[in-house]
Subunit: 546 residues, 2 copies
């Protein structure tokens, strides 16, 4: 394609056997700078890919420049074309899904650096990584670096949850350097503006904060408009109460004023801001369960019902919308979450935090939550919000961000496989073939984390020659089952004859007989040539001892 | 109980709020030696708890001293009583499950050090940790220490997969120090006896090896008797062929001789050895899929059918039996594995390796497999064989063993929760309460890995005072949702009145109204006292800044 702005990011991995595998790429221009990240100027920001696209709409005076609005008008935008190519779908399919509200393309008209992506259950399952300082730790540079780091490993969107100093400047730097959509929870900054006193919050301060962040280019806002006054008592008997920061802030406001949540009563005003910039809603689940004991309770599902009503209002304003979900949910209660969300929220995309399937493993909650995430992803959740090993314990550092992202790429990809998503198997099959053929370098490069795979292998067998060895230290040279299989296949082929075609025919015949469990036919097909093989020495493989 | 041999291991965790939580314990006498492991003599072995139990049976001249035999005779053994107490079930229920073949108590009459445990889908889901040297790495001491280490973190059984030097001596040291059942794959040692030439194996060498290991006290043997000659061609078109070491050895033997697998043709002879020592079968899945592409194929299910036939033969000999399962299976194909296994193998316990739900994450296969393990565990698999981060890449070290065990404790416990297993929730709820009440030390101690949880927390907040702080560095003092919830509850209670009982009544009334979504009733129930709260200063909590 001649237009460089439509040059969809994609990693072309050339394998040592000549095959080329195309991998979905989230790292943006950073990927090319991998070897020399120092050569890049964070102050300058990355190229503004969407500049002309958005300029044309501004010139046309579009009042509701949202992807949902265009989709409903039958218009295919550049963003839709872009994601269609990225996902190997037709642009018309993308448009239809957007028009129906089943998918969103978070793409603030002021985030010109964005490489558009789509969130919806008929597309690849996406993952989000949270970054952001707390009042206790980290700097602007660290947070920008965490965003780059997260997208390098595969984060599809990044949420900046900063609550400490320099919120505005930190966000500005992140957006100007972000190839992926950036989400925020505006109530955090609004709360800072009223010096941390939740009861001093009001709709004016909130709307002012929305405009400030929308102007910068934030692509989606988490807004806890479903935490209604009447639902708060439903959390009274919970083991862990309210565990969403935004949810607890709004609950405090509601009780302090004994008034209805102003995000709910002023929801139409909020929509007016959102649609002007095409900021997408991520309707927050302020009452999500914070322990498996609290899962699927009255508070959680009451709020979900309200989120369904708000979805309809948002759609009336042509504002793209997704719905946030739990949280902590034991495995047997996950399906109900998905079923209810699809029904109540009219198939708007679901965006869940895990869920964690047990509470007993702080320090390993990337794993407890990946189990739930993979399951709910396979059931139809469109985006999975990662959890790092530091969840419940502290602010994640760079290593934690990477661990969380890789773990969630596993969950998302496992879900794609389970959904039989077109093409999802290709990478698994390529890696399995490389493994079987002892192409170690290909196996490393095809893996989600080549550095770690290589390092683990090299821990016991660092020599270059071992990258071609037909074993690793796990089983050693004599017990490698894959190596033995090659011997088995050689035996089977030796038995069937020299000619390749007759080999295949013979194998097919034996296979058919075996399927039919026809012992006589198999015995005939196997045409014993055992002695011949033994005479050859039986050992095809000679171990490369070091 | 007066008899010290019936003193069932259990960790009584005393929490700072006075509660006592009882936790299932696998570490045996080592647990008491935790603080001084140097004071323990590995050469001496741990106490022989079962000495008198077994001696009585020998004195009685029992010819088939298997737990299945006794169970079918209506006899409740000490082992059954022991596991009944350990699992909070009746001994009669344990006996019935054993008699039906739905559960096994792997307990070789020569493993007198064993603390009996049970494997069956109506009991707690168990996990196995593999240890063992390969020809490339590790010593006897290291392997014994890995066994102690694995049981410290929660391994219910340990398989010694050694293939290198000193197989016999390594195994002897492991068994004499093992409070948990030890499993092996005898074909590995048999292969060493014929200098690694699979085609030189025969039933005599195999039976001799079985007797040697049974005499030492091995509790269960993985035997690949289902790899039939006629099934081998079914693996010809697989991406990863045969990935079980034992399976590939037997496949090579079958093809080299063009004869049926001698483990299959001599299965009755093998049963004769097993029943004499009460060694349990772990019928190996030599044709399990080694990639998601090969999952649920003709080879895998053909072998499963044979394992079902062998189960019936084993049961005719009163030999306890479980069935090994895959492997690599995408999520949507897992349920079929469980359904077929239960049906074909007459509800004999299933013992699966993962399964891994994607192939693209070498270095993280403890996670790819924990997803599948948790799922298949919730469906009825009785024991989960762990996978470490080094899977496919190298021999696991101590850190990998711990990571694998903790990850699988997560999967097994999540499965127990999903099955609504009696009492499984207690630990989750205790930890969640500790979390909500900022009892940090209790939260650490209740977690699967207290050391890691504490270390992660202390990374940013090492001061002693922070163990009582109402926040951590993840959100900082002003944004801790749990802290905010306490404020919300104080607000709600301030509104409802001073008396505790009337509080509860008022909350219940509001809750009922909210469930009914009756706005008027809620408004009445909420009896606004907002001004009063504001007058108090609104801030109940004062942050402990450092």
């Amino acid at each position: 394609m001649a237009d460089p702005t439509m040059d969809v990011p994609c990693r072309h991995l050339k394998l040592t056997n000549g095959d080329i595998i195309k991998l979905y790429e989230t790292a943006g221009p950073f990927d090319k700078l991998r070897l020399n990240p120092q050569g890049y100027d964070v102050e300058q920001g990355i190229p503004k890919r969407r500049e002309k696209w958005v300029a044309a709409r501004r010139a046309a005076g579009d009042k509701t420049p949202t992807q949902m609005y265009y989709a409903r008008q039958g218009i295919i935008t550049e963003e839709m074309q872009f994601v269609a190519m990225r996902e190997n779908m037709t642009a018309e399919f993308v448009r239809t899904e957007l028009a129906l509200g089943r998918a969103i393309i978070p793409a603030n008209i002021n985030h010109l650096e964005l490489e558009p992506m789509i969130i919806g259950r008929n597309f690849l399952v996406k993952i989000n990584a949270n970054i952001g300082n707390s009042s206790l730790a980290s700097s602007i540079e660290e947070e920008v670096e965490k965003m780059r780091w997260a997208t390098k490993w595969g984060a599809d969107t990044v949420m900046d949850l900063s609550t400490g100093k320099n919120i505005h400047a930190t966000r500005e730097h992140i957006i100007r350097n972000a190839p992926v959509p950036i989400g925020t929870v505006p109530i955090y900054q609004a709360l800072e503006k009223v010096k941390g006193k939740a009861e001093d919050l009001n709709i004016d301060i909130f709307l002012e904060t929305l405009v400030e962040q929308a102007e910068q280019g934030v692509d989606y806002f988490t807004i806890h408009a479903g935490v209604l006054l009447k639902y708060i008592p439903l959390t009274a008997k919970r083991i862990t109460g309210i565990v969403s920061r935004g949810g607890s802030i709004m609950a405090k406001w509601c009780l302090a004023h004994h008034q209805e949540n102003f995000l709910y009563t002023h929801f139409a005003d909020i929509c007016e801001v959102m649609k002007k910039y095409d900021v997408s809603f991520s309707l927050g689940d302020g009452l999500r369960p914070g322990s498996t004991a609290d899962a699927n309770d009255a508070a959680q599902f009451a709020e979900l019902k309200t989120l369904g009503e708000l979805t309809e209002i948002a759609w009336q304003h042509n504002v793209q919308t997704m719905i946030e979900g739990p949280g902590h949910v034991p495995m047997h209660l996950i399906q109900e979450n998905m079923d209810l969300q699809l029904k109540i929220c009219h198939e708007a995309p679901f965006y869940t935090l895990g869920p964690l399937v047990t509470d007993i493993a702080p320090g390993y909650d990337h794993i407890t939550s990946a189990i739930g995430a993979a399951m709910i992803g396979s059931m139809g959740t469109a985006m999975l919000c990662y959890v790092t090993p530091k969840e419940h314990l502290g602010l994640p550092d760079k290593d934690d961000v990477k661990e969380g992202v890789i773990t969630y790429k596993i969950a998302a990809h496992a879900a794609d496989l389970a959904k039989n998503h077109p093409g999802a198997r290709e990478r698994d099959d390529a890696l399995s073939k490389a493994r079987f053929e002892f192409r170690w370098e290909d196996q490393f490069e095809l893996s989600l984390d080549p550095d770690t795979a290589r390092a683990y292998h090299d821990q016991t067998l660092p020599q270059d020659g071992m990258k071609k060895a037909h074993f690793c230290s796990m089983c050693g040279p004599h017990f490698c089952s894959m190596n033995l299989t090659h011997q088995v296949r050689a035996l089977a082929q030796g038995g069937a004859g020299a000619d390749d075609q007759s080999d295949s025919a013979a194998i097919a015949e034996v296979q058919a007989a075996a399927l039919a469990q026809d012992d006589d036919a198999i015995a005939a097909g196997m045409a014993a040539k055992a002695d011949e093989f033994k005479a050859k020495g039986s050992e095809i493989y000679v171990a490369q001892e070091n």
